[in-house]
């Protein structure tokens, strides 16, 4: 499964999952998931809507507990009882739903749980640091003293990403970090991911944008309907990837591009594509 050409570059194994499953009532959101992340490696997690990507990230962040399976972090087997446990192990997460407190302002959200001066908040230093972080991300936020409720979707996402930069984590997980971002901000986040990778952190990134994925990922892990559905390298063809994601070579994407190119009947092919 592991491509030997990649092993040279990547560092020690940071995270390793075996047989992780998660049920919600009658729905099996994840079944027997395996995943390895090494230091200095960007792993892209891709899959269709509802494939279980966010559920997996939430399990790694301590938000959900897995129904079964084992998790090793930094070589030791761990169980993450709550998000605090994951954070103190050095796992930082940007959640898809951002998880911001709408009633707090931008600065308070960025520093939530890690305020400077626990007994006498150092608002000035926090505000300075917040502006620095936001500028790094090319954010367009008029005022960091506005409550998050009044921010635009992209501004919120920037705030959530800025949060994760505060920690000194060993593993950083970004669940669709660029979904709501503008072109400039997206470019900055991709830069950021590369910088973070180069500092030797493990990165897990989820995205539906194959271009972005290919741009920064060292390995692409595909989930389909809650199961592993192959591991690819960034130079895999678009068709290969999309087939693995949707589970069929003939799909909406190919039909659409075919239709747009002209009227050419697509070759019928229905079995699941595994690399």
């Amino acid at each position: 499964m592991d491509d030997p050409t990649l092993l040279a570059r990547r560092g020690e194994l940071v995270l390793s999952l075996r047989g992780i499953s998660k049920h919600f009532g009658a729905v099996s959101a994840l079944t027997d998931i395996e995943l390895d992340v090494h230091a200095g490696e960007v792993v892209a997690l891709v899959g269709d809507n509802g494939a279980g990507k966010s559920t997996l990230v939430k399990i790694l962040a301590g938000v959900h507990q897995p129904s079964s399976g084992t998790m090793r972090f930094g070589g030791k087997e761990v169980t993450l009882a709550d998000p605090g446990a994951a954070l103190s192990l050095g796992i930082a997460t940007v959640f898809q739903d951002l998880a911001l407190c709408e009633n707090l302002d931008v600065v308070a959200n960025i520093f939530l749980g890690r305020e400077l001066g626990p007994l006498g908040l150092d608002e000035v230093s926090m505000e300075i640091k917040a502006w620095t972080l936001l500028r790094e991300l090319s954010a367009r936020i008029p005022s960091v003293r506005e409550v998050v409720a009044s921010l635009s979707g992209g501004q919120r996402q920037t705030v959530a990403i800025a949060r994760s930069l505060l920690l000194e984590p060993r593993l950083i997980m970004l669940d669709e970090p660029t979904a709501a971002l503008g072109v400039a901000q997206t470019a900055e986040v991709l830069n950021l991911i590369e910088r973070v990778r180069d500092r030797g952190l493990g990165v897990v990134m989820i995205s539906h944008n194959m271009e972005d994925v290919r741009a920064v990922a060292d390995r692409i892990v595909v989930l389909r309907l809650g199961r592993n559905n192959g591991v690819f390298t960034p130079d895999a063809s678009n068709h290969e990837l999309v087939s693995a994601i949707t589970g069929a070579a003939e799909n909406a994407v190919s039909r659409r591009s075919d239709r747009r190119r002209a009227m050419m009947p697509p070759p019928a092919a229905g079995e699941e594509a595994r690399p």
């Binding site: 407190c101 009633n103 749980g113 890690r114 007994l119 008029p142």
Partner: protein, 411 residues
């Protein structure tokens, strides 16, 4: 404009608020968007006071104001606890019972069992803390809605209160003891009260000035020294005038001083510490707070415990004020008044929005109405009707301001 090279004024969409013009425009913007803090409640209070004073000129007499402030202090302390618990989006219906139980315990231990008074007070407060801790456990471990657990608590603690008071039903606290004097007749020396206000004024200026300098140094927008000084001076003068007025009669009650000290401490804790930030976060979005690594259960525990502790302190103060610990202590309107004070002052029942000042302002509104009406010779039925009406009027100003906030999308 020099301000445009400030770090936090870089966005061209921000209206610049420089100089007097800018300040006025900024204020009007705030009025229009309803972001006025406690101002509307104060306006409501002023309306109430004007009306009552015009009906009976004893209302604003120094003597009557001292009474209002005394009465505000006891329930006000309980209301501070309510602010804590409302901030995390929960409720405590049992503060009345807890305060009554604390006063009963004080009476039993101090008067009947001859404990030293400080130990009896400590025991009462500890009992309050234990009750709050129990609620927190029910909430954290069983997920029992606080409405239900504290409703059970209301009944159970009232039972306890009746039980420990037993046959006697009520206990006299020794008249003339420091405890009772504190609750009835202990006033600050005039000079001390003036000095305290002055110190407060200087403190306001000093912190404002220090922050402004640090912000300037970091190229952040900051208030001008003149405006900081102006605010501090206006505040000091207003407070000194109030103190002067109170000193015309009996003076500033120590109990009020104690209450104000608690308000300031809670205000500091809620706005300037990590704990307070966490409380606000948990109340605003519990799950987001959890994901930020905040010990959410710990925060709930602290809020429940604080609420019951404040209730117990309030109970001790009430019994000192009444010089009695009885089966009736804490019954009646205590619960509703304490919760209403916080809500009237602007603390949200849904969590995440509130301040210690809301307890202060709210309870003064309630007690002012109550006192104003006792000065008019009214039958109970009329008194009830008018209380209801005046309460609604007092809050309407605030509601309208907040409504404009909602319509500006910042609920």
């Amino acid at each position: 404009m020099s301000s445009s090279n400030l770090v936090d004024r870089g966005d061209e969409r921000l209206k610049q608020s420089v100089g007097v013009r800018g300040a006025i425009r900024a204020f009007l913007d705030r009025v229009r968007s309803g972001d006025l803090g406690p101002l509307p409640v104060i306006v409501g209070l002023v309306i109430i006071c004007t009306v009552f004073e015009s009906l009976n000129d004893v209302f604003l007499s120094s003597n009557n104001l001292v009474n209002v402030l005394y009465d505000s202090s006891t329930i006000g302390v309980i209301s501070l606890g309510i602010v804590c618990i409302l901030m995390v989006g929960e409720i405590d219906l049992s503060v009345g019972s807890v305060s009554g139980f604390a006063s009963a315990l004080l009476g039993v231990l101090w008067v009947n069992a001859n404990w030293p008074v400080w130990l009896a007070v400590l025991a009462a407060i500890a009992a309050g803390a234990a009750i709050g801790f129990l609620y927190a456990q029910l909430f954290n471990r069983f997920g029992m809605p606080s409405f239900v657990s504290t409703l059970s608590g209301l009944l159970a603690v009232l039972g306890l209160q009746l039980y420990i008071l037993g046959q006697s039903g009520s206990i006299n606290l020794p008249y003339g003891s420091p405890m009772v004097s504190f609750g009835q007749s202990l006033f600050m020396p005039a000079i001390l009260s003036y000095a305290l206000v002055l110190i407060a004024g200087i403190g306001v200026f000093a912190t404002g000035y220090r922050t402004a300098r640090r912000r300037q140094a970091a190229r952040l927008s900051s208030r001008s020294t003149a405006s900081i000084a102006a605010v501090a001076i206006v505040l000091t003068v207003a407070l000194e005038a109030s103190v002067f007025y109170l000193n015309l009669d009996r003076g500033v009650p120590w109990m009020l001083g104690f209450f104000l000290a608690l308000v300031l401490m809670l205000h500091y804790a809620l706005t300037r510490t990590r704990w307070g930030r966490s409380v606000t976060a948990v109340g605003g979005n519990r799950e987001a707070a959890r994901r930020a690594g905040i010990n959410v259960r710990g925060i709930y525990t602290s809020a429940f415990v604080l609420c019951s502790v404040f209730a117990a302190i309030g109970g001790v103060l009430s019994s000192a004020r009444l010089a009695s610990a009885s089966q009736q202590a804490g019954t009646g309107d205590v619960n509703l008044d304490a919760i209403a004070a916080a809500v009237i002052g602007g603390t949200s029942l849904f969590g995440g929005r509130g301040s210690a000042y809301s307890a202060l302002l709210g309870i003064i509104v309630i007690q002012a109405i109550s006192s104003g009406l006792t000065l008019l010779d009214l039958s109970s039925s009329l008194r009830y009707m008018i209380t209801g009406g005046v309460l609604a009027v007092a809050v309407i100003v605030d509601s309208l301001a907040r409504r404009s906030r909602v319509s500006h999308g910042r609920a």
